[in-house]
């Protein structure tokens, strides 16, 4: 395996991407049941209100934020052609994603214990 910061970034991008695709179809499955009557909807919604899914929600936030900012990095590289600052850009994406995950994740977890 040829390890590098670029590889880690690429691997996380793919991993979060695949995870988000799976989430997307689960999300559609839950919300889509709204037209099948309150019983079905409530049972599916209760299924995803457990502590396990609250933790998964923080992971989801991390995945979305990382994937989005990595995408912004790629757009910047594509449209400006900057390749010299590639390493600082990797670290900037990691830092921003971590920061936003903490900022958004703490309220989610606090709400869980209310």
């Amino acid at each position: 395996m040829y390890r590098s910061t670029g590889f880690i970034s690429f691997f996380l991008r793919r991993l979060t991407g695949v995870a988000l695709v799976i989430y997307l179809f689960m999300h559609m499955w839950v919300i889509g049941s709204v037209n099948q009557g309150p019983g079905v909807f409530d049972s599916r919604l209760n299924m995803v209100q457990t502590p396990f899914f609250k933790l998964a929600e923080v992971a989801l936030l991390a995945a979305v934020v990382y994937h989005a900012f990595d995408g912004i990095r790629l757009l910047i590289i594509h449209y400006t052609g900057i390749t010299d600052n590639r390493r600082s850009m990797f670290y900037a994406v990691f830092a921003i994603a971590a920061l936003l995950t903490v900022a958004g994740g703490v309220p989610i977890l606090l709400f869980m214990f209310e």
Binding site: M1, Y2, S4, G6, F7, F10, L74, T83, R86, R87
Partner: protein, 269 residues
């Protein structure tokens, strides 16, 4: 991963060492089932290169060690290998600078390519992909009596790409190549960039069809391993980004090229 932090700095204790431990990946397809690591102790001076160390092992310690080398001046591109996890030409890689704290350097063949023996890899896919991009120049049929007039700016744009020595360091560091050998690869895309940007070339559209096609520039995922690996400090990623942009405006680019070639043979005023 963090070896760039200590790059260019050689600790004093390493400088004082008289010998280095060279760990080489060995594999003989006739005898071994899978590759293994063998360690040799090699004398060194501050000027010793990794290639010198390998040569010492071959002549003094174990004549069966197999590796490719030729010019020893970083211009033939034969001796690209994986030193401490990153691809480099061993002939211009300083041995004391490559050692870790215990005086060990690990040398492996180029990753993701089939190993023939010890440090020699099969580069068939490398050259097959190179052929696909038509790496030669296709000049206009009516060649001028004296010369083509190419502007300094046009030369500057392609100047660096011309110094590629085809060593394979970028190709074998590429993560996309690791997943499948269908991708054209950074080496061939850099060459394609060189020919597409050359104002003398008459078939930029055909080239962009190949390098901007399914297996070409759009398969690059901007991982930057090729830039880090290149021993000549070239920039295949930037070339690939340029090819992407040109492929999106292929027709207009072909027209610009045809227009440019009308003035290519005119003498300077």
């Amino acid at each position: 991963m963090f070896d760039f932090l200590s790059f260019g700095k050689t600790p004093e204790m390493i400088k004082k060492r008289k010998t280095a431990f060279v760990r080489v990946q060995r594999f003989n397809p006739d005898e071994d089932e899978k590759p293994y690591i063998q360690e040799f102790e090699v004398p060194m001076t501050p000027e010793t290169t990794v290639l010198d160390a390998l040569q010492y092992v071959k002549t003094e310690l174990d004549g069966s060690l197999t590796f490719r080398k030729s010019c020893r001046h970083a211009i033939c591109g034969s001796c690209a290998m994986n030193v401490n996890g990153s691809n480099d030409l061993v002939c211009h890689r300083n041995l004391p600078e490559s050692l870790d704290k215990t005086g060990v350097v690990t040398i492996k063949p180029l990753p993701y390519l089939p190993v023939i023996k010890d440090l020699v890899v099969d580069r068939t896919s490398f050259w097959e992909q190179y052929k696909r991009v038509k790496p030669w120049l296709v000049p206009p049929e009516d060649a001028p009596e004296k010369e083509f007039r190419v502007s300094p700016e046009e030369v500057a744009a392609i100047n660096s790409a011309e110094t590629c020595i085809m060593c394979g360091a970028c190709y074998s560091s590429c993560q996309v190549i690791a997943m499948g050998k269908d991708y054209i690869g950074p080496h061939a895309l850099l060459k394609s960039f060189l020919r597409v940007m050359d104002p003398r070339d008459t078939i930029p559209g055909e080239r962009l069809d190949i390098s901007g096609g399914e297996d070409g520039a759009y398969r690059c995922h901007t991982i930057f391993n090729c830039i880090d690996a290149c021993p000549k400090n070239l920039n295949p990623t930037e070339a690939i980004e340029t090819l992407r942009k040109l492929a999106q405006r292929r027709i207009a680019f072909e027209e610009e090229r045809a227009e440019r070639q009308k003035t290519l043979t005119e003498a300077a005023d």
